[in-house]
């Protein structure tokens, strides 16, 4: 297990290097000089940046400077906001996105497992049909539509009752987080429900469940210890990619609900072509996702004994 962990971590570092390099290449193939144009507020920033990134030097030298800065965890200074460090931007806005994301992942995973198991138990009966219809709907409706409609619904609900039960937008209290995190987790929850359902249906007919029945175990015990425990495994394997989907899906939810997260900031930076912020955020998100996937894989090793020995 220890060797496996070290191996995965080394792989992760190499992957982050690849992401950083790809980001560098992508941003340096942008037509024209990133520092030209009226976007750059004043000469002072320009001079600073030129010195800092060696923009007058050959591309490979720039790459080395860039990688050196990245290795030290220095993402540079914003192009559009004077003297604002990208690190500070991330430090300020990322916790908001992370809180939203964690809530959404928890919501999606618990919901997916619960609904998936329920539909499998009531296969082809009313609860199954109803839940699977909602799931198909959840998979097919784009997240921004769900976000917009839920905001519209919330506005009308608050207006109807005359009191504000849940805030329609903004950030701060737990109440602000409920609706956005549910909207954010909805698509993933629908996906996990489907996965859990098919996994449960496969397990229901598994030989070891038949063995458990032949031992005369009570149905609840068979369900919890033999079916659920094994059916969850495939759900956990896709949790890494699911976190990635939720993190980037957060952009839309942050935009619609006016949440001051890193995603909203990233979209702003893209629209203003704030190169350092775009590069810094991309590499930061990439690294975050890579290590989340590793974490999920290690977690999987703890639950599935078969992985532990490899």
């Amino acid at each position: 297990m220890f060797r496996y962990t070290v191996k995965r971590l080394i792989q992760g570092v190499i992957t982050v290097w690849f992401i950083a390099t790809a980001t560098f290449i992508a941003m340096h193939s942008v037509p024209g000089d990133p520092l030209s144009g009226e976007r750059l507020a004043n000469e002072e920033i320009r001079a600073n940046l030129e010195a800092r990134y060696g923009l007058d030097r050959p591309l490979f030298a720039q790459y080395l400077i860039y990688m050196g800065n990245m290795a030290r965890g220095d993402f540079g200074i914003s192009f559009t906001q004077q003297n604002r460090r990208v690190n500070d931007i991330i430090r300020e806005h990322f916790p908001v996105s992370a809180t939203l994301g964690i809530l959404a992942v928890v919501f999606a995973a618990l919901g997916g497992i619960l609904w998936g198991a329920l539909t499998a138990l009531f296969r082809n009966r009313l609860p199954d049909v109803v839940i699977m219809f909602l799931v198909i709907l959840g998979i097919s409706v784009p997240s921004f539509v769900v976000a917009a409609l839920s905001q519209l619904g919330l506005t009308s609900l608050n207006a109807l009752l005359g009191v504000s039960i849940l805030p329609v937008a903004g950030w701060g209290t737990l109440l602000h987080m409920i609706v956005p995190s549910m909207v954010l987790g909805l698509g993933t929850m629908a996906f996990l429900t489907r996965l859990m359902r098919s996994s449960m249906l496969e397990i229901v007919n598994a030989d070891f469940v038949r063995t458990a029945k032949s031992k005369g175990l009570p149905p609840t015990r068979i369900f919890l210890k033999h079916q659920l425990r094994n059916a969850i495994l495939p759900v956990i394997t896709v949790l890494g990619p699911a976190i990635a989907a939720i993190t980037t899906g957060g952009f839309v939810v942050e935009l619609v609900f006016a949440i001051p997260g890193l995603g909203r900031y990233f979209v702003q930076a893209v629209q203003q072509l704030d190169y350092t912020v775009i590069m810094g955020t991309t590499v930061f998100y990439g690294a975050f996702l890579v290590f989340m996937v590793i974490l999920v894989d290690l977690l999987y090793g703890l639950i599935d004994p078969r992985v532990r020995l490899e």
């Binding site: 198909i136 784009p142 072509l273 996937v293």
Partner: protein, 470 residues
Amino acid sequence: MSTAAFKFGPGDFEPVATERRTQTLSRPSVSYWQDAWRRLKENRRALISLWIVIALAFFTLAGPLLWRVDPAAQDLDQVSLPPGLPRVALIVEPYVPWAGITATPVPGTPETLAAATPDGLRLVEPATTQAVRLAWDPVPGASGYQLYRNIFDPEPDGAVGLPVAEILDPAQVSFEDRLDLEPTRYWYSVFARDEFGAEAGDYATVTVDLTRVVSAAEAETLGWIDAAGAVALGDEIVLPYYPLGTDYLGRDMLSRLMYGARVSLFIGVVAPLLFVVVGIVYGSAAGFIGGRVDQLLMRFADFVVALPFLLFMILFKIAFGIGPGESGIFPMLVALVLLAWPATARLVRGQVLQIREEGYIGASQLLGAKTTYLVLRHMIPNTMGVILVTLTFAVPTVIFTEAFLSFIGMGVAPPTPSWGSMSNEGLRTMLTHPHELIFPAIFISVTVLAFNLLGDGLRDALDVRMRGRE
């Protein structure tokens, strides 16, 4: 046993030759693709989805030929029009200014004023979209009048709506409304004002139904008719028709949805085709060559998978740049292919490695089959099913990606319509004109739903393990 002895004669115990040594099976024997097609046909959801996909293809390809309305043409007189039946307008005289009605003010005390309600509120002449002319009886002691207009009945909450006029002259007991008149029903309310300019007493309300009218000259300017002389007063002319309404710039929704479908479905179908082909070539190369090359190729694929997909879609989008007048469809295709191929490559490689070990490949080789024959006869038919399913599931993913990017303003460049960019524009007017968001959203959802269900059906139908189950 004794009864049996009576039942059967000696002849019954004569030996017979049983020639049908092998029994025939009562089930019909079906080939793989026949069986898959049978199961797909039995899957009602998949079949409906297939029809929806066919209908969408018709809508996209043949739609613009049948509904010839320019998706970029703006009708500024019919902006954010809700869906509905064709609209007509009555040809009338050009607008003539109205002097209004005056009456001698009636004196009164503040007390009577506080209890007063304006009487005799009435339409002076039929209400049209040209003008609504109202008059009422003077209120004793009033220093002026205050008028409101609402699109809902003010009762019972007293919600009188939008203030449309403040009349400071107590002699003036009429009002002409020409403000953004729509051919619908309005509720006009009038208050009397006290000497301090505050509203006094109760209000009176009149319900007014407006008729859409236009003068011949105006109709010609707007392009509704060819020549002003061709119509007579009192004629009804039919306005340009928008069955699904218009957007915030007065562009036809139906036509935009059709052209948007061309963009969204083009990206949604072509991008998966391209990256699946790239994936097949890459994956089968890795699988066939094997060894070090395979390791190296697949490690590179792992790296590409690790790139955060949507972030890099945005990065590539910026990197390619969009010149003026370009739609941005091509850069999006390239970015999708660059980022999305590894999934198919992994799948195909796995299939190749698996099938290579199958007994029938060895058997075929023993019989002297050449590599090309093996690939054509065994490899391709056996991977077709999996690839077809991957392709079907890739379509909704790509449509979602396009919609997402267009939504955050990183998709196809305006004015090119796509369902994603239409949703983005519709979001701004969601509260007042929900149809501008709902139509493209429904099209995205139905398309994604159809492809998802079709993919499910195909996967179940092509899965050999499902044979004989259900």
